[in-house]
Subunit: 360 residues, 2 copies
Amino acid sequence: MSEEHASTSRKTRGRTDGQVRPGWRPTLADVAAAAGVTGSVVSRVLNDDPTLSARPETRERVLQAARKLGYSPNALARGLRQARTMTMGVVLPNLAYAVNAEIIRGAERRALAEGFVVLIADAAEFGPTGAAYQKLVLERRVDGLIVASAIRGESGADYAQSLSLPVVYVNRRGQAGGVSVSVDDEQGVALAVDHLVEVGHVHLAQIGGPGDVDTARRRRRGFEARLREHGLVRRGGWILEAEMTEAGGFEAMQKLLGARRRPTAIVASSFAIAVGAMSAIVRAGLAIPGDMSVVGFHDAPIAEFLIPPLTTVRMPLAEMAEKAVIMLERLIAGERADDIVVSTPKPQLIKRASTAPPPS
Amino acid sequence: MSEEHASTSRKTRGRTDGQVRPGWRPTLADVAAAAGVTGSVVSRVLNDDPTLSARPETRERVLQAARKLGYSPNALARGLRQARTMTMGVVLPNLAYAVNAEIIRGAERRALAEGFVVLIADAAEFGPTGAAYQKLVLERRVDGLIVASAIRGESGADYAQSLSLPVVYVNRRGQAGGVSVSVDDEQGVALAVDHLVEVGHVHLAQIGGPGDVDTARRRRRGFEARLREHGLVRRGGWILEAEMTEAGGFEAMQKLLGARRRPTAIVASSFAIAVGAMSAIVRAGLAIPGDMSVVGFHDAPIAEFLIPPLTTVRMPLAEMAEKAVIMLERLIAGERADDIVVSTPKPQLIKRASTAPPPS
DNA sequence: CTGAAAGCGCTTACAG
DNA sequence: CTGAAAGCGCTTACAG
């Protein structure tokens, strides 16, 4: 059937009645025929080939024919010929989760501006035997990969690198090194700790992410280090690991509430954890920030509308994703890039009503 | 340079030392050479061509060679030849917004299971002159489009249809008709109204979405109809239009709070609107649900961790997206599909603590 | 200044 | 039962 279709399309080449069957799209050859030149000229004119020195009138004829027919080059044909798909794959953990929205948007927007298109994949399908890995990497649908956020354990990204497919990590760092764009996580938590100490807290706890997530580890190290610098005690039971979800934060907070001694302030290592922790605090009959202060990580749009509005560390996720696109583009072009890029702007503390001096 | 690369790859064809340069990937021809057959046999064996009657041993040789070399067909070459990209475009309004997470996940997951891959595009870039429209539709990168959620005004989707590219809408209906998967919005609001009436409310207000968003219109009609059926008055100032964002809900709620007469219950037409409304209520010094009840639309994962947990209408968004993928696949295959599919499971009211009897 | 030709990696009638 | 050949829609040395 595609054969027939093709031959029909050929026959159409000569038509000049302006009539176009729905679904029919002109090819290079159609433009060439309409302009009375050969395909190579059309290609070179349309692509502004600097080695081409065509007569202005020829150039004009080609341009007009292309415009009149509404010609756009077929991306697949082009990709096949040039061995470049102009497509970037974006791998995200748990697509159902909202935190990645900014990353997706930043990546998509910038990719588009750079002439690329974005294929998404769920990290769950991106193991070396996963279907998404197969489709994107092995079937050569992408020129490179952006791997976003905290993904645990090994992923197809490592295999991709061994296939020498360029990979850039966002908001996490690769297992085996590689190029990454991340925030200064240590500094981020430090901002949170400083703020709490400043308003008078000395009993701080952290609900962090899983130990095998690298951003979680850095946030934990940052917390401990900053506590030390303030000369505060780091109580054993007050540094918890939780899944980076609301439920994770909720449960961890319940543990904390059930302990003999309670902290007066919570530093959460993610937005979802903060939300879960707040929920647990209020259900336990305590007030935020009256009895306990909470700081989150990631300034989701909803943060300022929570009750109370959440004090949180803002990461420039969209900018980070955009930067990752730029770096990936360089890698694709065969240039080298720095391994670790720490984002600008820096993380920033957004003070809202979920933090206040401790109860006296 | 790609030329050189290609010729190098040719030379590699005969190697049997198992050594593989990083980044090198075998082609059909490599498999054919390794199996001692021609490319057509390889293609037909690998694709289970039923018209092929190859000797079992030939078949086996091909399979083994393919496995040994780690062969995967090049998607671009295949797509070019077959005039099918095995790619679906997913168009979303405001990629920064979290509500679409479930839709993205459902679509991606199902698409993958069906052998398709998903290209995402921001609705903002999807006007008929937008870059995303150009890349996805005009450059023929997709076999069809899934257009998700409330998008205002005309979009490239309409143009796509005129190019006879299959389009399926999710959680909205097309301007000019077309295939769509949506919930029964009227029934969704009816559930909310019924619940509020049941616990004793008679003063209900609705904060709806913009009038040019079709889901918003249906939710508004549903609200008015259900009020009538309960014999309740529909007060003029109590049906508001707002942007479907937290800020939109916040502002609308402030208007409502400033009015002479206040409702005792709010039916929001989106999750974000509900969150914004709650925030405004609490900042005005009122209690939820003590002074005012709130019902949302869409059961985001965060809903049950809000303070108080939000009573909301659950839409099966992931299922809807999956269904849309199936329908799009049919359209791509040239089959006809029903124009309007109303989702199963039906919308469902999730009762939580943001609703209670009105103050006495 | 422009054209003829090869080739990217596949699939698919058509021969034999 | 298997192979030779054409062709999808482009780009790009190479001729002339």
